[in-house]
């Protein structure tokens, strides 16, 4: 940060456009995703750093001694760009709004569970009393409701989401949005943390084609894109280009539909695990050899990793046996794999189809939908047997993602998995601040995962950025989203590792 200079412009490549400026509606953790764009305007109230610790962003701190009562301290003199103060009232207003079911916020169940315990102590202090202890309250808040918009602007828009104007207190001011093409922001001169932000202009360019994105960065047409080394290939070594690892392991996973269809039968899920060699699957997916395959929800890098409980391994003979058994029971293995039309995912699903089709008594159908239609189809309609979501799910610090995935009714629990034991262990892990108890609870979680096979977990990877080598101030938050106020253009190749 020493050599940070003011001025300049950066362009972050996004894969798709945002749908609205509603700060309550956030999802995705990948750079270029909607959260990334909202961050520019609203700024993180609190965020999770690379170590998994909750840090203050727009707020000064969020702390608790007992995991039940949490204190949020705001910074003085922070103002929204419409001049209204970024104070306790504003934060509480945003939370209330999120808790209102009409807002349709994904974080509604989470926020509404403690909204009654919110107490404004003074304009810069809020005290939150949770109904039960939650040691992960801070990180969950950072992941699912980190943005605070100007109450005046939100009020003005009323119920019409499309009419919400982006008025935050973040590092940048919304300048223009060309739907489907680009978004442009300019420096917020009244940002609280002067001399930040350094950049005069921040842009998001929407480029759907992976190859085009890579070439664009290589040629200097944009500053950065998120991706994986297998996609970059030799381009990572191109002059003027650097890669930057965001060292938070993520999981590749697919959802088994446990409400209806083939995978309601445990044998089918087990057979699926046995039938496919995950190493080959990852190689098919990324065209790169040598992935370490996770043996359970937590990878070796995680402090909660427990080698005792492992997921079933590749065993084609066993798989065939189970497939035959299922067929004999009159429940032949017939599955529909749903994913979206991305070439990597196409490859992955084709590979799954190809491998499974080689077994007897197996039928596999593929359905590739538009990216935007994946969630509705998998989450809302639950119309799949196996649903593959693209990219990796950041699994640092377990929560809130693990609960979202595995808890009964969790927002990311697309497969409708439900287990009392699992719910209990997850709650236990949250309820204590004691590390050994947490570890024990998560060991049990891994045991249940290995037994129940709620998800198909087949790979893990860290995310990379392909960026211009003169990009400075890379401060990832929440597992990948760069905090825009730190970004600056440096004179030399400061990003090269």
């Amino acid at each position: 940060d020493e050599q940070a200079v003011s001025g300049g412009e950066m362009t972050i490549i996004a894969g798709s456009d945002i749908k609205s400026w509603d700060p309550a509606i956030t999802s995705g953790t990948f750079p270029g995703g909607p959260m990334d764009q909202l961050d520019a305007v609203y700024g993180f109230l609190v965020y999770v750093d690379l170590e998994g610790k909750v840090q203050g962003g727009m707020a000064e701190s969020l702390t608790s001694d007992d995991a039940v009562v949490w204190t949020l301290k705001l910074r003085p003199e922070v103002k929204f760009t419409d001049g209204t103060p970024y104070d306790a009232e504003a934060v509480a207003y945003n939370w209330k709004r999120t808790a209102n079911p009409d807002t349709l916020a994904p974080a509604q169940p989470f926020v509404s569970s403690w909204i009654d315990g919110v107490k404004i102590v003074d304009p810069l202090t809020i005290e939150i009393t949770l109904p039960t202890a939650n040691r992960n309250f801070g990180s969950t808040l950072a992941q699912s409701a980190p943005f605070v918009g100007s109450p005046a602007a939100l009020e003005a828009a009323g119920s019409d989401k499309a009419a919400i104007k982006p008025v935050g207190a973040g590092a940048f001011l919304f300048e223009s949005w060309d739907q489907g093409i680009s978004l442009s922001f300019k420096r917020n001169p009244d940002y609280w943390d002067q001399p930040r932000p350094y950049l005069d202009t921040l842009k998001f360019a929407i480029i759907p084609e992976t190859n085009s994105r890579i070439s664009t960065v290589v040629q200097g047409g944009a500053t950065m894109m998120a991706g994986y080394p297998y996609q970059f290939g030799a381009n990572a070594e191109a002059p003027g280009v650097a890669t930057h690892e965001i060292p938070i392991p993520g999981l590749y996973r697919a959802y088994f539909n446990q409400k209806a269809g083939t995978f309601t039968d445990h044998r089918a899920r087990e057979a699926f695990y046995h039938a496919i060699d995950p190493g080959r699957l990852m190689q098919a997916y990324t065209q790169v050899e040598g992935y370490v395959i996770p043996t359970n929800y937590f990878t070796q890098a995680s402090p909660f990793y427990d080698p005792t409980y492992t997921l079933p391994t590749y065993d084609p003979a066993k798989a065939q046996e189970l497939f035959n058994e299922l067929a004999a029971d009159g429940k032949p293995f017939k599955m529909k794999l749903v994913t979206y039309t991305n070439s990597d995912l196409k490859r992955l699903s084709s590979y799954v189809q190809q491998v499974l089709s080689a077994y007897e008594n197996v039928e596999v159908e593929l359905e590739l939908v538009d990216q935007a239609m994946l969630k509705p189809q998998c989450q809302t309609q639950v119309n799949f047997d196996l649903c593959v979501d693209g990219g990796v799910l950041v699994a640092n610090g377990a929560e809130p993602i693990i609960s979202n995935l595995l808890k009964t009714g969790g927002v990311d629990n697309w497969g409708q998995y439900s287990s009392e034991a699992m719910d209990g262990f997850l709650a236990a892990a949250n309820a204590t601040m004691d590390e050994t108890e947490v570890k024990a609870a998560y060991a049990n979680v891994q045991k249940v995962v290995a037994e129940d096979l709620p998800l198909y977990i087949f790979g893990s990877e860290t995310r990379f950025l392909l960026l211009r080598d003169n990009t400075g101030g890379i401060v990832p938050s929440n597992g990948g989203i760069l905090q825009k106020q730190y970004l600056y253009v440096c004179e030399d190749a400061c990003a090269a590792e």
Partner: protein, 306 residues
């Protein structure tokens, strides 16, 4: 497949013409009757014949692996063997086998869409050309509306409605060609109607139906066959574009456009693997266009002579 090793030696001299070489290498090709065709046109015709044969008989090619099952490792470079000739694709299937099976997919779409378009276009065009008036206006309007809509986009929209399906693609592509066939048929009927033989048939007491079906229809065939290959080439391109965009033939059925799309992402790492499907689509379109030109030229000549 003919064994190349058993062919009698033939050394093309410096003055050997391409046609001689072709005729020598493929003796049966001289049975292909294309009066006045250049060697390129002969080659194109042979290629198309081969393509149709491949589409029909690809399952019986000895030694050819399934296009849906793995053959080798992922993204293997080409090697000197039947299945590895063009390398393997990103999940290890034989590209050569997929290219050959892709021919079946393309040919099937071309054949069915063309049949749909030809039959309906002919019907509409004949009515429009013979009865003129309101029929003609209606058909013109229909053809114009089709021309004013980007076909690929409409197929995309339909695919969005019905989900990716071969039937949708075939039907929509077929519908889009109706306009052209109708136009050609209409123009043909109008120009034939100006010939005295139609009048002569009327003078003999022929009914409209007889005149249309027995007198005019046979004379529309040359013009229709002349536009057909070009339209077929267009179908192949459109189908390729759709599959390329991911809205075409559902996986794992092999299609050239889909193969190009999947090699595109890995282009910077395995550029050779795109060669097979690209060559397949380019050569096929080339052959169709060449035959189309040949037929159109012959039609022109015939019209000029008469």
């Amino acid at each position: 497949m003919t064994d190349i090793g058993n062919m009698p030696a033939f050394k093309p001299g410096p003055n050997a013409k391409l046609g001689d070489i072709v005729r020598h290498a493929m003796p049966w090709s001289s049975k292909l009757k294309l009066p006045g065709a250049t060697p390129f046109e002969m080659l194109a015709a042979i290629f198309l014949v081969l393509l149709v044969l491949v589409a029909l008989l690809v399952d019986f090619v000895p030694g050819l692996v399934s296009p849906k099952l793995p053959y080798g490792d992922f993204s293997q470079l080409p090697e000197w063997s039947l299945n590895g000739l063009l390398g393997t694709d990103d999940i290890g299937r034989s590209i050569f086998s997929r290219v050959l099976h892709g021919a079946r997919t393309s040919m099937m779409i071309v054949a069915i869409s063309t049949t749909i378009a030809l039959v309906s276009g002919l019907l509409l065009g004949m009515l429009a050309g013979y009865y003129r008036g309101i029929f003609e206006r209606g058909v013109d309007l229909f053809a114009n509306a089709l021309a004013a809509m980007p076909s690929t986009l409409v197929v995309l929209a339909f695919v969005a409605v019905t989900g990716p399906s071969v039937v949708t693609i075939i039907v929509v592509l077929g519908i889009f060609d109706i306009g052209t066939y109708a136009r050609v048929a209409k123009a043909g009927v109008i120009s034939q109607s100006n010939r005295d033989y139609v009048l002569a048939a009327r003078a003999m007491g022929a009914t409209d139906g007889r005149i249309l079906l027995k007198e005019i229809l046979p004379n529309l065939i040359p013009a229709l066959t002349a536009v057909m290959p070009t339209l077929m080439a267009g179908l192949i391109i459109t189908e390729g574009s759709l599959s390329f965009l991911g809205y075409g033939i559902p996986a794992p059925a092999p299609s050239w456009g889909g193969m190009i799309a999947s090699s595109t992402d890995l282009l910077s790492r395995f550029p050779v693997l795109i060669v097979g499907p690209v060559l397949a689509i380019v050569l096929t379109v080339y052959a169709f266009n060449t035959i189309g030109d040949y037929l159109a030229q012959r039609l022109n000549n015939r019209e000029r002579e008469s």
